[in-house]
């Protein structure tokens, strides 16, 4: 079966999070959200998935603050962050390019990043567009820093970065990304040219495995409705017919 680009990314992310107990997905994150729902499906419901803004995919009953309190309590294992710019030290810019506050291009804003990035043990950075525009040497505005001094309370941070070209792991101690796998149709040189920051290379750099038939069947079958409830426009556009 031929996977759509989104279906491909969903399954790549899903494999990274299949061991989690509680995955939280922010607003506007259909690919991470679909990955979380697929992981939950495959776990037989063992994995708890909370999608911000969804009345159905939530365990929360205490209002908007509960997600953040829950993260501080250590009850959330995995979260996803995007960002208009991401740099080689895993700093994330969700605020805007150019001088603050009158940005050249203003992004929506920090959402919960300037907090959750510190408190959720495993944060996956996710940005489809992999270009020198999005993956930069240094972000124009550090909305959420990729690392913190030793005396700053921090129990979490980035473990990796997924784009439409590759997956890179992040080493928080060394503050550097390592290219781990390149998606089919791309090369290491491709990735290097499209990346505005330097990174290390795993030995060997793998080819990212494609979705299995079972994964695609689950996405297009039982999960289509669950994904569509939360991301109606995405489900219609990104999931192929079963």
């Amino acid at each position: 079966m031929d996977a759509s680009p989104q279906e491909f990314l969903i399954t790549v992310l899903k494999r990274r999070i299949a061991d989690a107990r509680h995955i939280v997905v922010g607003a506007l994150s259909p690919i991470p959200g679909s990955a979380a729902l697929l992981a939950r499906h495959e776990s037989g419901g063992r994995i708890r998935v909370t999608i911000v803004g969804s009345a159905r995919h939530t365990s929360f009953t205490d209002g908007g603050r509960e997600l953040f309190d829950c993260a501080a309590q250590g009850r959330i294992d995995v979260f996803f962050l995007g960002g208009g710019q991401i740099d080689g030290a895993a700093n994330v810019n969700m605020t805007g390019t150019g001088p603050y506050p009158t940005s050249t291009v203003r992004f929506p804003g920090a959402f919960g990043s300037a907090y959750l990035y510190y408190l959720v043990p495993r944060v996956y950075l996710f940005r489809e567009e992999h270009s020198p525009r999005t993956l930069v040497a240094k972000v124009d505005f550090v909305t959420a820093p990729g690392s913190s001094p030793a005396n700053v309370y921090r129990q979490g941070g980035a473990v990796g970065l997924l784009t439409n070209r590759c997956y890179m792991g992040f080493d928080r101690a060394r503050r550097r990304f390592t290219l781990e796998s390149v998606h089919p149709g791309h090369t290491i040189e491709d990735v290097a040219q499209a990346t505005g920051f330097g990174f290390d290379r795993a030995e060997p750099v793998m080819t990212t495995p494609a979705p299995t038939m079972a994964e695609l069947a689950a996405l297009r079958g039982p999960l289509r409705e669950a994904i569509g409830e939360t991301y109606p426009r995405f489900a219609a556009a990104a999931l192929r017919a079963a």
Binding site: A55, R106, S148
Partner: protein
């Protein structure tokens, strides 16, 4: 007052909010009072200090585009699946909006501080973010209970007015919100709370434990106005879906101020003599 009828009209609610008020609105999916927002635009309110709890969407973008907002305190403004908020973005890039960029948990925590009328509340995270330099009203202290442990203190947010849309209220002014507890924090934190609702019931929402558990007591509510489809064109809980056509029209039109003004003429001023 337990006896008095607490109901009013949407235009009445809008008329009671003075220019330059500090106004807190919920995130779009939690019950943005769109009918009231349109009434505020029609009344020509000016100089609002708008607080988004914790993010802004269509409600904030329309108020900004219509020139109602002087300052915005928010963790983000976005139209969700419909993309960037065009009037917010244009105003920021033009430098015509005073920005108080925040992060979701900071707004929630500062509203909790407002609810408790404590002057500040500490919060983890944030240190190392450029947000800190953008918010001179936030302070970093060394945790008095720790050692070499810097922590951010946020000043309490205590809005003049909280405005929200809910499914149901009773005549005494009790407002049912279900799990949307951020609406209760807003009501506790604000000096005044104004509510639009899909429907008003003659029952007492506090009489039964099951409904009481999800109800803002009238104690905190100044007035309630019926507004069927009051969140339109946004979706509202399981009661109605998004008006996709209207949202698409908004996003297309609001790319320019002229287009936005045409949207207002049709969907805000044009509705004055109709449903609202």
């Amino acid at each position: 007052m337990a006896d008095a009828d607490m109901t009013g009209t949407v235009e009445g609610l809008a008329g009671s909010i003075p220019d330059r008020s500090t106004l807190v609105l919920p995130v779009d999916y939690a019950g943005a009072p769109m009918a009231l927002v349109r009434a505020l635009v029609r009344r020509g309110i000016r100089g609002l200090h708008l607080i988004c709890a914790p993010t802004g969407g269509l409600a904030a973008d329309i108020l900004i585009g219509a020139g109602c907002v002087a300052t915005i305190e928010t963790s983000a403004v976005s139209l969700g699946e419909y993309g960037f908020a065009p009037r917010f973005r244009a105003a920021v890039e033009a430098g015509t909006l005073c920005l108080r960029d925040s992060t979701c948990p900071a707004i929630h925590a500062a509203l909790q501080a407002g609810e408790k009328r404590i002057p500040f509340i500490p919060l983890r995270g944030i240190i190392g973010s450029d947000l800190l330099a953008a918010r001179p009203d936030w302070k970093v202290i060394d945790n008095p209970f720790g050692q070499d442990d810097p922590i951010v203190l946020l000043p309490a947010i205590q809005p003049d007015v909280a405005a929200l849309h809910a499914p149901l209220a009773d005549r005494a002014g009790n407002v049912w919100i279900g799990r949307r507890r951020e609406l209760m924090v807003m009501a506790h934190a604000a000096t005044r709370t104004l509510v639009t609702v899909e429907a008003i019931t003659d029952a007492d929402l506090l009489a039964e434990e099951r409904t009481a558990a999800g109800t803002i007591p009238a104690l905190y509510v100044e007035r309630v106005a019926p507004a069927a489809q009051g969140a339109w064109p946004l979706p509202f809980r399981n009661q109605y879906p998004v008006d996709d056509q209207n949202l698409r029209a908004y996003v297309a039109a609001a790319r320019t101020q002229a287009g936005f003004d045409r949207y207002l003429a049709e969907h805000v001023f044009g509705r004055q003599r109709a449903a609202e």
